[in-house]
């Protein structure tokens, strides 16, 4: 009970802070739009290519915007000494991890919730399928689960902003591959049999990495 309350307190704190400053969401959102814009010129997103590359373009956009958000979310804690305050709180430390992680997940989902309709509007693609949205959720969950843990580490290093993507991208390759393939499957209307292995992989990844992050988070914040 206490654990859940502590987790929600951290999430509420992040959301309240964001509601007042709107730094993180606006940066992530504008960045995401720019990435899509760049892809538009880099790939010539005409009707024929769109079918095959939409999933890839969206996931690259989400991961880039996501790493921006992760960096920022943990850098704030570090710079203003909030992390020390959080660690002093008499709660289980993994509650802090889950709080930060779900906070980051909310930010990432919010950005996705804005980007998807815009993409859908700009490129006349129907993205609103339950299956696809489920994949977006599972993929983002796995990504922020690892990302929150790694960002907590990288903000304590010398080369912080540069280091996060370098550490994070190779570890999240399975999530990326599975998310892109599953999204593409849903968007192209493949039958569920062809998509299921990817969904299984996503669920396995999410479970394994949330569990491991839960176990090692204490070592990452210990002073």
């Amino acid at each position: 009970m206490n654990f859940l309350r502590a987790t929600f307190a951290v999430i509420a704190k992040d959301l309240a802070g964001e509601l007042r400053s709107r730094e993180l969401l606006s940066a992530m959102f504008v960045f995401a739009l720019l990435v899509i814009l760049i892809f538009n010129f880099a790939l010539e997103l005409d009707v024929k290519t769109r079918n095959t590359v939409t999933a890839g373009v969206l996931w690259v956009t989400f991961t880039f915007a996501g790493s921006l958000g992760l960096n920022r979310s943990l850098a704030i804690e570090k710079d203003r000494g909030c992390m020390d305050g959080l660690l002093l709180a008499p709660v289980d430390r993994s509650a802090i991890y889950f709080g930060k992680m779900f906070g980051n997940l909310v930010f990432m989902l919010l950005v996705e919730a804005i980007v998807l309709p815009i993409y859908s509007l700009l490129y006349n693609t129907d993205l609103f399928q339950i299956g696809f949205l489920g994949v977006v959720f599972l993929g983002s969950l796995g990504y922020v689960a690892v990302g929150t843990l790694l960002a907590t580490m990288t903000v304590q290093t010398r080369t912080r902003d540069v280091l996060l993507p370098i550490l994070l991208f190779p570890l999240t390759i399975p999530v990326l591959i599975a998310s892109v393939k599953a999204s593409m499957g849903f968007l192209q209307g493949l039958e569920i049999e062809a998509i299921r292995p990817w969904l299984n992989l996503l669920i396995v990844y999410d479970t394994v990495f949330i569990a491991v992050a839960f176990m090692v988070f204490d070592f990452v914040v210990e002073e």
Binding site: R158, T159, L163, I173, A178, L201, V208, V220
Partner: protein, 232 residues
């Protein structure tokens, strides 16, 4: 400074002898493969260096867990030594594979699951070294390194699995995910002997290099401490 242990010198000599024997076996004992010819001989060392790479990363992950449990500095030295050796041998594995693939697959590179996984694995451990470089405090460096090396080792099988799945569903490449589908061959007894012997040899190469690297790590630590003493 501690003198070099005698046992290590013996091990050096033994490993060099094994290595020479192994080279001789690959070139003179193992028969020429009927279809692929001489280029198949790269196989004996290719698998052996790949084996050393995996062994190193496994050792590093175990050392990472042991470090987090005990906080003893020796496990950190062990992990970093293992990762460095693993990077070198995985690279050798990729290079020897490419040399073989050029005549057999008619390309230096293809996005086969094994190749993809080896590359991403290499990147993960490069990232590990960069993470260490970014941290000055040795205790924190060891702690973060241990966490990352564990995470990395867990993600490698998942990467392999996802890359394999990618190919099985992918319409263009067919059949390359059966082990050795293109350029497969059956080993004769002499080939098996050569192969096992080179695995044996490279396991010793690994142990020998680990020992040297651990010793180097300890000596570097001492130098560090002496420098600190001087500056005080």
């Amino acid at each position: 400074m501690q003198p070099k242990p005698k046992l290590l010198t013996y091990l050096d000599v033994f490993t060099v002898i094994l290595f020479l024997l192994s080279v001789a076996m690959v070139f003179f004992y193992a028969p020429m493969e009927a279809v692929m010819g001489n280029v198949q001989r790269v196989f004996y060392f290719h698998v052996a260096v790949g084996w050393v790479g995996m062994l190193s990363f496994l050792a590093a992950a175990i050392a990472g867990i042991l470090y987090l449990r005990s906080k003893e500095r020796k496990w950190d030295l062990f992990a970093v030594a293992a990762v460095e050796i693993g990077i070198v041998f995985t690279f050798l594995n990729i290079v020897t594979g490419s040399i073989w693939a050029r005549p057999i697959w008619n390309t230096w590179w293809t996005w086969d699951p094994r190749l993809t996984t080896a590359t991403i694995m290499e990147l993960i451990y490069f990232a590990y070294l960069m993470l260490r470089q970014g941290i000055e405090d040795p205790e924190r460096r060891a702690r973060f390194g241990a966490v990352y090396v564990i995470l990395g080792f867990i993600s490698v099988p998942l990467t392999f699995f996802s890359a394999r799945l990618f190919r099985t569903i992918h319409p263009v490449v067919i059949g390359t995910n059966q082990p050795g589908a293109e350029g497969q061959f059956d080993m004769t007894p002499k080939m098996v002997q050569t192969f096992l012997f080179s695995l044996f040899t490279f396991t010793f190469v690994f142990i020998d290099l680990m020992w040297h690297r651990l010793r180097l790590g300890r000596l570097a630590d001492q130098v560090e401490q002496l420098k600190l003493k001087l500056s005080l």
